[in-house]
């Protein structure tokens, strides 16, 4: 049970970090946002089917946390280093 919970968190952290790196690329924010949301829904269904609703909750919290962390990290880098000339 613990392994399943940790694994769901791990999957959520990886997916949240990936979402952070993918969402900022390109100019089609709406399309990218919808595609990422759809992909997140696929993962959420999979986690629910394989591990239950508690794991699903952990997955979603971990994904949101990693996404937030990634966005904050990127903002901090931009603040510190700015854009190239």
């Amino acid at each position: 049970m613990l392994i399943t919970m940790l694994g769901s968190m791990g999957l959520g952290l990886v997916w949240g970090w990936l979402m952070g790196s993918l969402s900022g690329r390109g100019g089609r924010l709406l399309r990218n946002g919808l595609a990422l949301s759809a992909a997140t829904l696929v993962f959420a269904i999979e986690v629910f089917l394989l591990a239950g609703w508690r794991a699903l909750a952990l997955f979603l919290v971990a994904a949101a946390s990693a996404l937030l962390l990634h966005v904050l990290w990127r903002r901090e880098l931009r603040k510190r280093f700015g854009l190239p000339n």
Binding site: M1, L2, I3, T4, M5, L6, G7, S8, M9, G10, L11, L13, V14, W15, W17, L18, S21, L22, G24, R25, G26, R28, N32, A35, L36, A39, V42, F43, E46, L49, L50, A51, G52, R74, L77, R78, R80, F81, L83, P84
Partner: protein
Amino acid sequence: MDETQVASTIQLIGAGTFGALIGWYIYYINRYRSAEIQLNDLMTLVGVLGSGAILALFPAATDLFGAYGIGLFIGFFGYFIIVAILVRGSENFDADWFLDGRRKKLPEDYYIPEEAKPTITPMEVPGGPVINP
């Protein structure tokens, strides 16, 4: 010794190692991907990370999916941490490399071979990457 327990442990290690391999490779693919996100990229990611194959490989209500997730985390963030350590230890890169790929100019007696694969966008920045400005 309980044979079922041994098999289960081997299965857990296998699932975790499989996850680590996938996690490592996903970071690698994402690092060298073209700048503009395509629907195909997402489909590939969804397919690799959590497709029907994962559902088929790891039966519900077992710890195998959990071991896969832990391995995925270790592989993915292991790659990131190693890159961060290498960037920190390098004289040619700083943390701003993570922003847009910027780095120091090559000295006169250094060159990049034609066949070397460029790192396109470690992270997004408007205007594209800075490669050997």
